[in-house]
Symmetry: C2
Subunit: 218 residues, 2 copies
DNA sequence: CCGCAATGTAAGCAGTGCGCACATCGACTC
DNA sequence: GAGTCGATGTGCGCACTGCTTACATTGCGG
């Protein structure tokens, strides 16, 4: 599939629309419009509707891309997390992803999102399973006393996901100060450790000699 | 502020707009528009702009109302929570409020919400302080071994808020099944208990037979 | 009684999602 | 090769939106 005749048929308008949508989302300009996507992609205003039944489908497609990238990020944060601290690293990566791509993250999670979209349902199910596996692995070797049952694992994994998700959105929506990445990372780490019932080994990443004065509640 | 001549000057268009906006939000019709609000309020399309500088200010006003109602709900769930289980009750009330008023809750928390709005900032600060007080009270009498420092309290309270907030949105966005209220309540309770590091006493809801009836209506 | 500021209105502009009819093209048949 | 056909892209139009600008109507203070 080369370039046809360069003017009428774009040849790959769908990919161009996705890329354009992604770009506009990254540029943060609030709600993205199909028309803006079309302009950016260099096609007519109605061309996107040839590839996506409606606006929602377009942003869903971008969101699906986002799910994959998020998974990559989490895996990169720690390939095989086995301890609560590894888990905290993954949590930090989650929140950092949200803060690095706010609009994308919102599109992924915060839209009304009617449950008709199989792609999204699958993606969130995958995340859920991933988190569940993480928690299970991290705690099989950690908590050996009073063996927790399956219900407890489930409760713990939903707690972990909800905690991290809540942290992400609370930062995203300005409920927590997100201007200093290290502070955010510390907060996330501290919350995860609090959640896992273990004392945080060291709040800061080895680097906090003094100057603490944590100002929060903004 | 009586009724003037009944036709031209409405007399209390601001309140009418707020009420209309609230109604439309409850009816769930997705994004509410200033024009729809005006129609519902029985005024012209541009009348709302006499009382609110822009759409954002309108929804912020409705959101402020929502913050107050949420606070009422939480207080009603438990006037002076002192144990982790009381805390779980409050958490359940939080999530139930979100599920009972999805659009309102979204307007309160999920909008981009530039930080220029003092009313909202104050409201969220109040929530933060409230949660912090709750956690502090609940744990001063519970966890006496290995006395936690102020940092731990802070970490714990942000963890609790984030956990509950995350649970609310994950349910709202269909990531968790929210069709059966008891299941939701159990999940929230289980997660809170997992977060607080205590074993869930008994997942079933009918455990506590207190005079406190969480009469959920409206 | 008059003027004024608050409050209401209608008209209009730019932008949006999306349906509809038409244009253009590659690919496939005869 | 000529013709057809479905995929893709276009222009136009409709209903709707947020918001501005100019104008109408009021109650109230002087």
């Amino acid at each position: 599939m080369g370039k046809p005749s360069d003017s009428y048929h774009h040849g790959d308008a769908r990919a161009a629309c996705l890329r354009a949508a992604r770009e506009l989302l990254e540029e943060g300009g609030g709600g993205l419009s199909v028309r803006a996507v079309a302009r950016r992609a260099g096609v007519s205003a109605t061309a996107p509707y040839r590839h996506f039944p409606d606006r929602e489908a377009l942003v869903s497609a971008v969101a699906a891309q986002g799910y994959r990238e998020l998974a990559e990020r989490l895996a990169a944060a720690h390939p095989a997390p086995a301890t609560p601290e590894d888990l905290a690293d993954v949590a930090v990566a989650y929140v950092q992803f949200a803060l690095a791509h706010p609009a994308l993250f919102r599109a992924m999670f915060s839209e009304p999102c009617d449950p008709g979209n199989a792609e999204r349902a699958a993606a969130t199910a995958a995340i859920s399973a991933y988190v569940d596996g993480l928690v299970r692995r991290a705690f099989r070797k950690h908590g050996s006393e009073a063996g927790p049952g399956a219900d407890d694992f489930e409760a713990l994994s939903t707690a972990v996901w909800a905690l991290v998700h809540g942290l992400a959105f609370l930062h995203l929506d300005g409920k927590f100060d997100a201007s200093v990445p290290e502070v955010v990372a510390d907060r996330v780490r501290g919350a995860v450790h609090a959640n896992l019932g273990v004392a945080a080994p060291r709040p800061r990443t080895e680097q906090r000699a003094r100057t603490e004065q944590s100002s929060e509640s903004e």
